[in-house]
């Protein structure tokens, strides 16, 4: 068996049975991740010693016949905006290039406690701001299916690492689509959990009211397995909510046909034909397994992108204020006075996209503009939330494309931020409303690159999402080339 192509569930099973030496697993994945760097640049830092230490711990528990965690022996990658104690956590920014957090994010604690082997920290758009991973200070990650293409973003490194078999599963973060879009572009599964389902403690904030950590995997069951391991209320995150995931894995097979809402506004202008066709055939498949298709109309959706970018950048402008050279950020050596130190540090430390968003966000919160932009965007957000709740009266889930195109060529969008923002049109809804949403592969586009379909679920209804996605996955028979 090629261990690299095995599912996380399979690796876990074999580790627990003693058929697979976790130390060997750690070494194999650390080596292959290392070798992949030249081509894919999925990682910002590799953590082979940490993986080895965790593997030794798993092995010793195994030998002592002590209980093992739900991810024992499973190689996992962590997006580099999630704090890992003592290791670089850079957010792919020059300004945090030397930051080593003195504490672990709650999700990292949970991974380590569950026996996961953390192989490395993955590449991302600087501060998770972008859709291609190209704004990374450490260079773009590549799409393993075609290295001239982007793996998407901002969690492009995590998606790339999972899709290229250098880890079994990975954590990303999703503020406006940063898990689902890369999952779609690399042909894997990605979940943005309900806001509050997973603790944000230790996730370096981009836009706090949208940010949510979530799993990447090559199949739905692995996605559920990683999700179950990280979800739950955390007293260190006031916005986290208690949600029971103990029976998730055993209940995932109990599919019942659901009503699928399809907003017609999402299948018009701006959507590539091949994507429209693939999503359409996924809907046909859904029908064939007993689901009912419900036609929805939500005209407010065309305001979603604007509302999202106003609120997200407003929060970002505040969240990123701390990188001023006083405590964090490489302090500019070229400064005589305090103001100069601030502006030089920030000018030198941040990339263009981050600066653009900080300026946008500062502007929309400024006196005289607050009412016109921020406040109005908050009102739009409320209307969208209400409309989505109404839609969920008629449908159990909502299905849309994940990304309007089946591939982004590196360099194609980096100079056209507006067209990049507009490409988030399908994903930002779940962030604006706090609902859960998943992208699963459903076909291939014109250049042989994968296409994802997005399934949006009610708040804390991940279970239904997993059941439908799992059933669709086998019906669509589209899996990222795995050995069973």
């Amino acid at each position: 068996m090629n261990i690299q192509r095995a599912s996380a569930e399979e690796i876990h099973r074999r580790t627990v049975c003693g058929e697979l030496d976790p130390i060997e697993t750690a070494e194999i994945f650390s080596d292959s991740a290392q070798r992949s760097q030249a081509n894919l640049n999925s990682f910002i830092a590799l953590t082979p010693y940490l993986a080895l230490r965790s593997a030794e711990e798993v092995k010793s528990r195994l030998e002592k016949r002590e209980s093992l965690g739900s991810l024992a022996g499973v190689p996992v990658a962590v997006k580099d905006n999630i704090c890992l104690e003592g290791y670089p956590t850079t957010c792919a920014s020059r300004i945090l290039a030397d930051f080593r957090p003195p504490y672990n994010a709650t999700v990292v604690e949970k991974l380590i406690d569950a026996g996961a082997l953390i192989i490395g920290k993955t590449n991302l758009d600087e501060f998770a701001m972008g859709s291609t991973t190209e704004s990374s200070y450490f260079g773009s990650a590549k799409n393993p299916l075609n290295s001239e293409y982007s793996p998407g973003g901002s969690s492009g490194g995590s998606a790339s690492a999972v899709a290229s078999f250098h880890v079994a599963v990975a954590l990303g973060s999703d503020t406006g689509g940063s898990i689902r879009q890369p999952a779609s572009l690399t042909g894997i599964v990605g979940l943005k959990p309900t806001y509050g389902a997973v603790s944000r403690y230790g996730l370096i904030a981009y836009a706090s009211s949208f940010d949510q950590i979530g799993p990447f995997a090559r199949n739905v069951r692995d996605t559920a397995m990683l999700y179950a391991a990280i979800a739950g209320r955390d007293r260190r995150d006031s916005t986290s909510v208690d949600n029971d995931t103990t029976n998730l894995m055993s209940a995932i097979d109990q599919f019942k046909p659901v009503r699928i809402g399809v907003p017609r506004e999402y299948f018009g202008e701006g959507l590539d034909d091949d994507v429209g066709r693939a999503v359409g055939s996924a809907l046909e498949t859904a029908k064939s397994i007993g689901c009912e298709i419900v036609d929805l109309s939500m005209p407010i959706l065309d305001k979603a992108i604007a509302a999202y970018y106003v609120i997200a950048t407003a929060e970002a402008s505040s969240n990123l204020a701390r990188y001023d050279g006083v405590q964090f950020g490489q302090r500019s050596p070229r400064a005589a006075a305090m103001q100069e130190m601030y502006s030089n540090t920030r000018s030198e430390g941040f990339g263009d996209e981050v600066k653009r968003r900080i300026m946008l966000g500062t502007y929309v919160l400024s006196s005289g503009y607050y009412e016109e932009y921020y406040q109005k965007a908050m009102q739009v957000r409320e209307i969208i939330r209400r409309d989505i709740m109404h839609a969920f009266d008629k449908a159990d889930v909502i299905v849309t494309p994940t990304s309007p195109t089946a591939g982004i060529r590196l360099g194609e969008k980096i100079d056209n931020p507006l067209s990049m923002y507009l490409a988030d049109v399908y994903t930002v809804i779940a962030n604006l409303t706090g609902t859960c949403a998943m992208s699963i592969p459903c076909g291939h586009g014109a250049f042989g690159l994968p296409i994802g379909v997005q399934v949006i679920g009610k708040h804390f209804d991940e279970m239904n999402l997993f059941r439908l996605a799992h059933r669709l996955e086998s019906a669509l028979d589209f899996r990222a080339g795995e050995d069973d």
Binding site: R200, T239, E315, F328
Partner: protein, 484 residues
């Protein structure tokens, strides 16, 4: 009427009271004052990337107490907001505060001044976190540097904002005294201005007495002592009147009071004022306060200064002045109330407390809470005087000894043989002996120099070590001198 008296000043005060909760507002760090720099810090109060705030409910209890004490309204739902500005001792680049939905609205501070009851309405009361402390300039290996102590970061503050209803520096002083008294009675703040536990800013304007509109106001910062409040306001009012009298107009600006130089200096103009870009703090949920929470806190509320003051006048029939002095602090008021139980002559207890107890405390440099003499012992001592066991004069000496040793008055009286001599025969014998030795004085008295009488009483006291009952000694001496 002089020119100055044509003007009326309009003052509003913003007072920051540091709450004496064990831990900080949004993390578990100790909030104690005076620890070595940067020893009471954690990822949350240092604003480390990824760390999140969690509200300390003890601080909410304190806020509820204060709002109840001022008769304000507690918001069933209030919201935390970010106040964004750059300063080195503000690690996150924003302060978590409350903006348009504070925890408390309305209420008033009530106090007596010059025999009249004043009632200054409050605009709002809200919770916020303190910033760190900059220490500058400091010499570090030859270079001038500013250092930052983060211990104070995140210490809870209660901001109490008055309406512009204060009309003179004296009234501002009285307002602040009463406010301090209330927070001390409530046990929520030490009220120690020197240690920054109570800080005061003022909004000041002047207007002609017969005009309704407010004049242009200035904000006066750094009024960090009671004297500073009175002097700073007086200075600012005089400055504004002088400008107006010379035909100029007051500039809206923020000024800084310099206590050492007794002047205020311009800090920033209106144009340079910060745009704080307030917005809802997305890392915290709304603060919901149930009726049960409020009533639980209300049950623990002590008697308030004004109530105690009124009670001292009505229940004990004490004069206004006595009531005011004896209710300065809750500890003193409790002490007096207790002493009254052991010796139910309020005026005598009051006199004794105001002169003797407060005198001794001042000499010893301690507070009533550290005073070794119990209220019961004070009662015992006063009873000894009342019963004629000792004279009032001896009682003062006994009291000094009690304060030093903590012994009960009877122990001291008996040991030192201080019992008053009430035996007429014994006193008569003393007088006989005295008169026999001072015939000249007797003659002089009889010749009309009546002032000799008190001299002779003094001699009797000397001969008896002050133990002669003065009333009896008076009567006997008079009888002996007047008999021929």
């Amino acid at each position: 009427m002089t020119e100055v008296h044509r003007y009326e000043s309009v003052i509003g005060l913003e007072v920051h009271a540091q709450l004496e909760t064990r831990s900080k507002l949004f993390c578990g760090c100790a909030s104690a004052y005076g620890s070595p720099a940067n020893t009471q810090v954690c990822p949350v109060c240092l604003g480390l990337p990824g760390a999140l705030p969690v509200l300390n409910e003890a601080a909410v209890d304190s806020a509820i107490k204060m709002i109840l004490a001022c008769g304000g309204q507690i918001s069933a739902r209030s919201v935390f907001a970010r106040k964004n500005y750059f300063y080195p001792d503000l690690p996150k680049g924003y302060q978590i505060s409350q903006f348009d939905e504070p925890i408390g609205v309305g209420g008033a501070i009530v106090f007596d001044l010059d025999g009249e009851t004043h009632r200054i309405g409050l605009t709002r009361i809200h919770l916020e976190e303190d910033a760190g402390k900059s220490v500058h300039p400091t010499e570090v290996s030859g270079d001038a540097m500013s250092l930052i102590d983060m211990n104070r970061c995140g210490v809870p503050l209660l901001e109490i904002v008055s309406k512009p209803g204060i009309r003179s520096p004296e009234e501002a002083y009285a307002y602040l005294s009463r406010l301090r008294q209330i927070v001390q009675y409530l046990g929520i703040c030490s009220g120690d201005m020197e240690k920054g536990a109570l800080r005061c800013d003022a909004n000041v304007s002047v207007r002609l007495r017969d005009i309704d509109e407010y004049g242009t106001r200035t904000e006066l910062k750094n009024l960090n002592s009671f004297r500073g409040v009175e002097r700073g306001l007086k200075y600012e009012i005089d400055r504004q009147i002088e400008i107006l009298e010379l035909g100029g107009s007051v500039v809206q600006e923020t000024r800084l009071w310099d206590e050492d130089r007794n002047i205020s200096v311009s800090m920033r103009s209106k144009e340079e004022s910060h745009d704080y870009r307030y917005f809802r703090e997305p890392d915290l949920v709304d603060l919901a306060i149930s009726d049960e929470w409020v009533s639980a806190v209300a049950d623990s509320l002590p008697e308030l200064p004004h109530e105690t003051y009124i009670r001292f006048m009505s229940e004990y029939s004490l004069p206004r002045y006595d009531a005011e002095v004896l209710t300065t602090s809750r500890e003193l008021a409790n002490y007096v109330t207790e002493a009254m139980r052991f010796f139910p002559d309020p005026k005598k207890v009051s006199n004794w407390t105001m002169t003797e107890v407060l005198g001794v405390l001042k000499d010893l440099g301690i507070g009533i809470d550290k005073f070794p003499v119990s209220p019961a012992q004070v009662g015992e001592l006063l009873k000894a005087v009342d019963d004629g066991l000792i004279s009032g004069k001896i009682a003062k000496d006994v009291f000094r000894q009690m304060a030093e040793t903590g012994e009960s008055p009877l122990v001291i009286i008996n040991r030192e043989g201080l019992r008053q001599i009430n035996d007429e025969d014994m006193l008569d014998a003393v007088i006989t002996e005295l008169l026999a030795c001072s015939r000249e004085n007797v003659e002089a008295y009889r010749g009309g120099r009546k002032q000799i009488f008190s001299f002779l009483i003094g001699e009797i006291m000397k001969a008896t070590n002050g133990r002669a009952n003065p009333d009896i000694a008076n009567r006997l001496l008079k009888r002996r001198l007047d008999e021929r």
